[in-house]
Amino acid sequence: MDRWEALWIVIVAATLGIFIGTLVAIAGVGYIPPSEVEAEYRPTDAVEEFKPGVRSLGDGVYEVNILAYRFSFQPNKIVLENPKEVRFRIYSNDVLHGFNIIGTNVNIMVIPGYVSEIVWRPPPDFEGSYLVICNEYCGIGHSGMFAELVIKR
């Protein structure tokens, strides 16, 4: 191993160190993996108390409970008016699913037996509709599993 090689190793190690530092720093301002935003886990029997639907908590804050099942979401059309902060709680009562709002950072696995939670702050100027898809293989009807998220201003 010569001088150049040692230098290269130092440079790469430092770069990777900077990457990790950046990750931690931006995690500090809220950019952390979606599943970890105040996650809360419930055993399977939570499904009885899990009421799918949109709840407005006022001031643009919403809580949206979504049931994922083969091969649809309930509700599969979600309408939000002037949302500022939306907490999605997603529960699957059969197999593994995904929940991905296309064009946003909302991308989370829905693991049966656990409630997946994610908080989303929609872009303030967006008006219109988002496509929401299941992005984990769940069986033969997987590509037909999607929903629509409508933002009204």
Binding site: D2, P33, P43, N135
Partner: protein
């Protein structure tokens, strides 16, 4: 040098790997065409997921594992001059072939369309899991065979550094043995009982066990390709590897940190804490260091070879033997290694991962890595060792010359388009991504460009397969003998052993890292209490 039964073993495992590649490629073609808008739909949804399961299993596991076993024997025997034990090789073949066929039946019958990650609670036919378990046991027998050869060599060669090719094979085996317990526990404790008796399972636990195995699997593929860069490429070019010590450092980094990183496949899973994910990100970046060290070493070796041929500051690149298919394949794969590596850094970043998780970005990524760095390297090694193993020359030299370039060009287009489509959110693992017309318009053209690239490298694969099978039948009797491929002196005994040659120390450190890396998530999962759910039979 090779005993007859070793040749038989290499022939069977390498030929079987080609069959897997051919069949997997057929499935790949079906998927590519069927999922692209504006292209004919060759299969319905059920056929699509059958093909996808077949493609994933055949490509990611069967093609790679059988080819790796073949060249592992080749490298060990030619470098160490120690022969394998016949019974162990025989038993390896019986178990791995038997297990593969057992698992293939339900897959092809469409009764195990659970994809190659087979996440529960979706459960396929029991034979699929049983076959898989038998294959794993077979690979353990093979690992024992390799370790046996290595230990016998070591006993006779105290005070000698391990040759760099054999070092790589041993590294591969160590990583495989680190990784497979996770998969075995998942299959034996949960999946087989689930498929036979309907045992409810905790999905998060099984995902965690799967990825405990799944990431080191990546290094199980990659290291044999790196062995080709370290041990074969310099010989091909008639120079010495730039730094043997750095090569060994890279291997050790892979041994240390290839396993406690699996959570980087679960960044968007609920139920695992940010701290655990951060720990795995950090460890992932330390394995990345191994890849960077490799990149430097290979590039420096290439430069040395180019300059030895009279090249200057940059013109050395042109002096390299680009018309030699073995060299071209290795070098082109090495270029793709750069792109694959950079993409991997993005995947491994826990704050960027959710932009690309489960999108076509990932499909682009692993076709660059296992689909090119590994596959293209294996193809080029084939051109080199075919005459030695099969006693026949490659049928068409000119087809062999264009084949790596076609793969490279096609893959470049495919991977670029799929990476970009992934950034726009286009999902992987779907037979159709139109969502009744709601999907973003940009997806279609990107998928179509990707399909053009895909067809180009698929054709390159067809050329490769036809060429090797034609060589078996019509190839001229071999003109290369085995000795010219190995070091004249038998190995590199002049190499002093380095600190990296003291494998037992590094294995212990690796085990400690694994314990640390997995105690954290396992404590979370178990202290909260498991949450088992009913299983769902595929098609039921």
């Amino acid at each position: 040098m090779f005993k007859d039964y070793e040749k038989v073993f290499m022939r069977i495992s390498i030929l079987f790997s080609f069959v897997a590649l051919a069949l997997g490629g057929l499935f790949g073609f079906i998927q590519l065409v069927s999922r692209t808008p504006g292209f004919p739909r060759l299969v319905d949804a059920s056929g699509y997921y059958t093909a996808l399961t077949g493609h994933g299993v055949l490509m990611a596991i069967i093609w790679t594992a059988f080819f790796i076993m073949g060249i592992a024997v080749f490298v060990m025997v030619s470098e160490l001059r120690v022969n394998f034990r016949k019974t162990l090789l025989g038993l390896t073949l019986v178990l791995t072939l038997g297990g593969t066929v057992t698992a293939a039946i339900p897959i092809l019958a469409g009764r195990a369309s659970v994809l190659y990650t087979f996440y529960p609670p979706l459960i396929g036919h029991p034979l699929f899991y049983i076959g898989l378990a038998v294959v794993i046991v077979g690979t353990w027998v093979f690992s024992a065979a390799v370790i046996d050869v290595f230990l016998r060599w070591r006993r006779a060669n105290r005070g000698v550094g391990i040759p760099v090719g054999a070092f790589g094979v041993i590294t591969t085996i160590i990583i495989w043995l680190e990784a497979t317990p996770g998969l075995s526990i998942e299959v034996l404790m949960d999946l087989i009982p689930a498929s036979l008796f309907g045992k409810p399972v905790d999905v998060l636990l099984d995902r965690t066990l799967f990825w405990y195995f799944g990431h080191p699997l990546v290094y199980f593929w990659l290291i044999p390709a790196i062995v080709a860069f370290y041990a074969i490429m310099p010989k091909l070019l008639g120079v010495e590897l730039y730094s043997v010590k750095a090569a060994k450092l890279a291997y050790i980094l892979f041994i240390l940190a290839s396993t406690p990183v699996g959570l980087h496949h679960q960044f968007v899973d609920s139920g695992l804490s940010f701290e655990a994910k951060l720990l795995h990100t950090t460890l992932t970046y330390s394995v990345a260091l191994g890849s960077f060290v490799t990149a430097f070493n290979v590039l420096a070796t290439l430069e040395r070879a180019g300059r030895a041929r009279g090249g200057g500051a940059f013109s050395w690149i042109l002096k390299l033997p680009w018309r030699n298919p073995v060299f071209a394949g290795l070098a082109l794969a090495f270029i793709l290694f750069g792109f694959g590596g950079i993409g991997g850094i993005v995947n491994a970043s826990l704050t960027m991962n959710y932009v690309v998780h489960n999108t076509l970005w990932v499909v682009g990524h692993f076709h660059l890595t296992v689909g090119s760095i590994v596959t293209l390297v294996f193809m080029s090694i084939t051109y080199l060792i075919f005459p030695v193993v099969f006693d026949r020359n490659i049928f068409s030299g000119s087809l062999a010359k264009i084949q790596p370039y076609m793969w490279f060009v096609g893959m470049f287009i495919f991977a670029l388009a799929y990476h970009i489509a992934g950034i726009y959110g286009a999902p992987r693992r779907v037979d159709d991504s139109s969502y009744m017309g709601l999907s973003p318009e940009i997806w279609s053209p990107l998928l179509q460009i990707g399909a053009v690239g895909g067809l180009i490298f698929w054709l390159s694969g067809v050329i490769f397969i036809l060429n090797v099978f034609a060589s078996l039948k019509f190839g001229a009797p071999a003109t290369v003998n085995g000795a010219s491929l190995s070091n004249g002196s038998g190995s590199e005994p002049e190499d002093e052993p380095t600190i990296f040659d003291r494998l037992s120390i590094w294995i212990i450190v690796a085990l400690i890292l694994i314990v640390i890396g997995y105690t954290v998530p396992m404590m979370e999962i178990f202290s909260r209490g498991l949450s088992p759910v009913e299983i769902v039979y595929i098609g039921g």
